[in-house]
C-alpha cells in the first residue's frame, strides 16, 4: 500500500526514466572503452568480467552513487514543495513506513539499474572475449555484492534528504560526501567500509583480501543503524514541528 503511494508521487518527477538513463549511460563506459582500446584489455588475460570491472567500475559506481544522491533529494523535494509532508502527517499512515516505502522503491530502482549495467558488462564479455564462456552464477554474485554495498548509501542519503527542507542543502551535503570519500585513501579498510566508498569495491579484490563476510556484515549493520536513526529523528521531530 505505502510503496504504491510513494511510487505514484514519483510518477511525474522523472525518477524512473532517470535511473534507466543513468544505467544506459554507465553501460556506455565499458562499450566505448572496449570499442576504443580493445587490444589493451584483451591482452590483460584473466576472467573477462574482472577485466571489464577493473577497467570501468570506478566510473560506473560513481555514476550510480551520484544518481542515488539525486534520487533521494528528488523524493523529498516532492514532499517538501507545496507542503506535501504535512498532508502526509494527517493520513492514517505511519511516518516510518513512508520512509521505508521510499527506501524500498530506491532499492528496487537501484537493483534494476545494476541489472542493466551488469547485463551490458556480460554482453561486452561475450562479444569481445569470445574464447571464454561467462558463468551466470559469478555474474549474479557480483551483482548482488554491488547491490548490498549500495544499500547503506541509499538509506543514509534518504536520511540526509529528509532532514533538510531545501533541495540544494541535501544535494550539497550528498555531493560533498561523495567527494570526500573519493579522496580518502581506499586502501585502508576503515575508509573502504564507509558508505559512499563501499560501492567502489569489487567482489574480486574484496574476496582476495578475505573480507567478503566483513563487508556484508558492516553493510547490513550500517543499513539497520541508519534506519534506526531515522526512526529516532522522526520521533524527535514530531515534538518540534
Amino acid at each position: 500500500m505505502v510503496p504504491k503511494i510513494e511510487y505514484k508521487k514519483l510518477k511525474r518527477t522523472g525518477y524512473v526514466p532517470a535511473f534507466l538513463l543513468a544505467a544506459l549511460l554507465a553501460g556506455a563506459f565499458p562499450v566505448v572503452n572496449m570499442a576504443v582500446r580493445k587490444e589493451s584489455f584483451l591482452s590483460l588475460g584473466g576472467e573477462p568480467l574482472s577485466v571489464l570491472l577493473n577497467a570501468n567500475w570506478q566510473m560506473m559506481a560513481m555514476l550510480n552513487i551520484l544518481l542515488i544522491v539525486c534520487g533521494a533529494c528528488m523524493m523529498y523535494h516532492t514532499e517538501y514543495t507545496d507542503n506535501g509532508m504535512q498532508k502526509m502527517e494527517l493520513l492514517p499512515v505511519r511516518q516510518t513506513s513512508l520512509f521505508l516505502g521510499k527506501f524500498l522503491i530506491a532499492s528496487i530502482m537501484t537493483a534494476v539499474m545494476l541489472s542493466i549495467e551488469f547485463s551490458v558488462l556480460a554482453g561486452c564479455a561475450v562479444y569481445w572475449f569470445s574464447d571464454s564462456r561467462l558463468n551466470p552464477m559469478i555474474l549474479i554474485c557480483h551483482l548482488s555484492f554491488s547491490f548490498i554495498m549500495l544499500l547503506p548509501t541509499i538509506i543514509l542519503m534518504l536520511l540526509i534528504a529528509q532532514a533538510f527542507r531545501n533541495m540544494w542543502i541535501s544535494l550539497g551535503i550528498g555531493v560533498i560526501l561523495v567527494f570526500t570519500f573519493s579522496i580518502l585513501p581506499q586502501e585502508q579498510l576503515f575508509f573502504a567500509l564507509c558508505p559512499f566508498s563501499a560501492p567502489y569495491q569489487l567482489l574480486d579484490n574484496v574476496h582476495a583480501d578475505g573480507h567478503v563476510g566483513l563487508f556484508l556484515e558492516i553493510a547490513a549493520l550500517e543499513t539497520l543503524l541508519f534506519a534506526l536513526t531515522e526512526f529516532i529523528c522522526l520521533k524527535i521531530r514530531r515534538n518540534f514541528s
Binding site: 532517470a18 543513468a22 550539497g172 560533498i176 567527494f179 570526500t180 573519493s182
Partner: protein, 256 residues
C-alpha cells in the same frame, strides 16, 4: 532597473540559503587528507617533482576535477529552486524587467559563488601548507605569485561549464534530470582529457589546466603547454551559445 541592482537583488534572495557553509565544507575537507599524507610527499623520489608543488597539485586535484563543477551544479539548483518555490519566478517575470537581463544577473551570481570558494581555498591552502610545514619541517608554502595565477586559471577554465549547467537548468525543468545530467556529465572528464576531443567537453577544462600545471612541475607526467588554438575558440563558442539559448528560453515555461 539596471544590471547591478538586479545582481544585488539576486544576492539578497540567497542570503539565508546557508550556501556559504556548503562552499566552505569541501574546501576544508579536501585539505585534511593532504595534511595527513604530507609526510609521504617528502619521501617520494621516483618522479622529479618538488614536494611543495606535489602538495599543491595533489590537494587541488579532487577539488578541480569534481568539486568545482559539482559546486556550480549545487549553485544552479539553489538559484533555480529558490524562485520556483512559491512561484516567485512568476512575480519576477511580471516586473518590467528584461528577462534576458534577469537571466544574466542570475548567471553572474552563479559565477560569484565559486569565486568566493576559490578565495576560501587560497586561505585554507596556506593554512594547511603552514601546518604541514611545521609537522614535517619542510617548507610546503608556495609563493602567492605561483598559487594565485594557478587558482585563477582553474576558475576561468570552469566558466564554460557554468554556462552549460545554467543552460541545462533553464531548459530542463525537472530538477532530477537537470542536476543528474550535469553531475553525470562531470564523471568522464578523467577519460576525456586523454583524448583529442577534450575541448568539446567543458567540464574537463579545469582538470586539463591542472594537469598542465602538473606536467610543468613534474616532467613527463602530462603535456607542459596549453593547446590554446582549438581550446579558446571552442570555449568561447560553447559559452556564447549556452548563454544565448538560456537567455532566450529563460522563463518560457512560466510564460506559457
Amino acid at each position: 532597473m539596471n544590471f547591478f541592482s538586479l545582481i544585488s537583488i539576486e544576492i539578497k534572495k540567497i542570503r539565508r540559503s546557508k550556501i556559504f557553509l556548503i562552499l566552505l565544507a569541501p574546501v576544508i575537507l579536501m585539505w585534511l587528507p593532504a595534511i595527513i599524507n604530507s609526510g609521504k610527499l617528502t619521501k617520494i623520489q621516483d618522479i622529479s617533482i618538488l614536494p611543495a608543488h606535489n602538495f599543491f597539485i595533489q590537494g587541488f586535484m579532487g577539488m578541480v576535477w569534481f568539486m568545482i563543477p559539482a559546486t556550480l551544479i549545487i549553485c544552479t539548483v539553489l538559484l533555480t529552486q529558490t524562485e520556483r518555490l512559491n512561484h516567485s519566478i512568476l512575480k519576477m517575470l511580471s516586473l518590467p524587467v528584461n528577462s534576458g537581463l534577469l537571466c544574466l544577473a542570475k548567471f553572474t551570481v552563479l559565477l560569484i559563488l565559486p569565486a568566493i570558494q576559490m578565495f576560501l581555498s587560497i586561505g585554507v591552502y596556506y593554512l594547511s601548507a603552514y601546518i604541514s610545514s611545521r609537522m614535517q619541517e619542510y617548507d610546503f608554502v608556495l609563493p602567492l605569485s605561483y598559487s594565485l595565477p594557478a587558482i585563477g586559471k582553474f576558475y576561468l577554465a570552469a566558466l564554460p561549464a557554468a554556462a552549460v549547467f545554467w543552460m541545462i537548468s533553464t531548459l530542463i525543468q525537472t530538477p532530477i534530470f537537470s542536476a543528474g545530467l550535469s553531475l553525470a556529465a562531470c564523471v568522464p572528464s578523467v577519460l576525456m582529457i586523454n583524448t583529442d576531443y577534450w575541448c568539446l567537453h567543458p567540464m574537463s577544462y579545469p582538470f586539463y589546466v591542472l594537469m598542465i600545471e602538473y606536467g610543468k612541475a613534474a616532467k613527463g607526467v602530462y603535456e607542459t603547454s596549453i593547446d590554446w588554438l582549438p581550446w579558446i575558440p571552442a570555449a568561447i563558442i560553447i559559452t556564447g551559445v549556452c548563454l544565448i539559448v538560456s537567455c532566450a528560453k529563460f522563463g518560457y515555461k512560466e510564460r506559457k
